[in-house]
């Protein structure tokens, strides 16, 4: 049976061909202003900070309007079919992977300078004259706070999948509250730190790592807050809540950096590092056998049951 009528208002594919929008070019231009004015500020050119503020406001506004459009297209216009969702998920995962590599480069820079400190620093880490922060005080507290926020956000996600509206809302409020407390403590640490960004390679690596991590925490908090508002406005369903899942993935990424970060960054050179890392790297390189013996001695009081493997090691290093 044929029909004379063709429905031309329905697309014959599951993909989203977007309408013309000014937001991509607007965001690009804002980013250009932010980067150029950032450089102007660092190099001491006049009006740099003013332009940076303008650029930043412009960036946040244009990004908000772009994401608002995406949210409208998905929630109210039905453009986010399953195929489109897969594309959005993949795109976001690739973005998070790129952010992981960004942090890898920051950690690399830190380990490069801290594991083999130069003679100008006195060949030890922390460098001479630097008064370090105690990793077991505020840093440990902040790590615990962020890990807890990872648990609350997981609770919120499971609640959403189960259709428990109250659970989602309380879980998200708890997550955002923990994130705010973390940011507050971090600001306190920054205000009271005995060293600045300009204090040699120690200051540089410390503030690059913690600074960029802090920016990511703030961005992640905003992302989660938007999720909370969308939940309150009934945008999300128990099966379709991509933006929310992406916010959670971003938050876990921030979380992991903050769990590894304090441990790795504040430890080298400290007594704790010496105790747990055992022999120093140079001893390991110079004499693996001496290093093996030293590892045994360090390990013995902490993991006595591993001593049964000592005979294997002795055979490997038999003279």
């Amino acid at each position: 049976m044929t029909t004379k009528f063709m429905n031309r208002s329905v697309q014959a594919h599951p993909f989203h061909l977007v309408e013309a929008s000014p937001w991509p070019i607007a965001v690009s231009f804002s980013l250009l202003v932010v980067t150029l004015s950032g450089v102007m500020t660092f190099q001491g050119y006049s009006n740099g900070l003013f332009l940076l503020t303008l650029g930043f406001i412009s960036l946040v506004s244009t990004m908000t309007l772009w994401f608002k459009d995406i949210s409208r297209e998905g929630t109210f216009q039905g453009h986010h079919t399953f195929a489109v969702q897969k594309g959005l998920s993949l795109g976001f995962v690739l973005f998070v992977i790129s952010e992981i590599f960004f942090f890898i480069s920051i950690f690399w820079a830190f380990f490069h300078s801290s594991l083999a400190p130069t003679v100008e620093l006195g060949a030890h880490w922390p460098p001479a004259g630097i008064e370090t922060l105690n990793p077991w005080e505020v840093p440990l507290l902040n790590t615990v706070i962020l890990l807890s926020s990872g648990a609350t956000v997981t609770y919120a996600h499971h609640s959403l999948i189960q259709g428990n509206r109250a659970g989602v809302i309380y879980g998200l409020i708890a997550t955002v509250a923990l994130a705010a407390v973390f940011t507050g403590f971090q600001a306190f640490e920054y205000y009271n730190a005995p060293f600045t960004f300009s204090d040699g390679v120690y200051g540089s690596t410390f503030y690059m790592a913690t600074g960029f991590h802090g920016i990511h925490v703030i961005v992640g908090t905003i992302f989660l807050t938007v999720g909370l508002f969308r939940v309150l406005s009934y945008h999300l369903t128990d099966h379709h809540h991509l933006g929310f899942e992406q916010a959670i993935l971003y938050w876990h990424f921030v979380d992991v950096v903050c769990s590894l970060g304090p441990g790795a960054l504040r430890a080298p050179g400290s007594k704790e590092w010496a105790r747990f890392a055992g022999p120093s790297l140079d001893l390991l390189l110079a004499s693996p056998k001496a290093a093996f013996i030293a590892i045994q001695e360090v390990r013995e009081p902490w993991f006595p049951r591993l001593n049964r493997f000592n005979s294997i090691g002795r055979k490997v290093f038999e003279d």
Partner: protein, 73 residues
């Protein structure tokens, strides 16, 4: 051979051996006094390994108290 065998420096180049001997000489005389003869070995080693500019710079830093290296044993 004008330097002692130090396992930490087997993989190190001139810079590290120069600096290590400089520090070891001053550690030696701080611990045993200026007239202790074996300290001379470190003195000869760092004078042969280090650029004179570095020796002058480190000596000036030591006099001003700004040398970051630890000269106490």
């Amino acid at each position: 051979m004008s330097e002692s065998a130090d396992v930490k420096l087997t993989t190190a180049g001139f810079d590290a051996r120069c600096w290590q001997n400089y520090v070891d000489y001053f550690k030696c005389i701080n611990a045993r006094g200026e007239d202790f003869a074996p300290c001379k070995q470190f003195y000869r080693a760092y004078h042969s390994l280090c650029p004179n500019e570095w020796i002058e710079k480190w000596d000036t830093q030591r006099e001003e108290g700004t040398n970051p290296s630890n000269f106490e044993v």
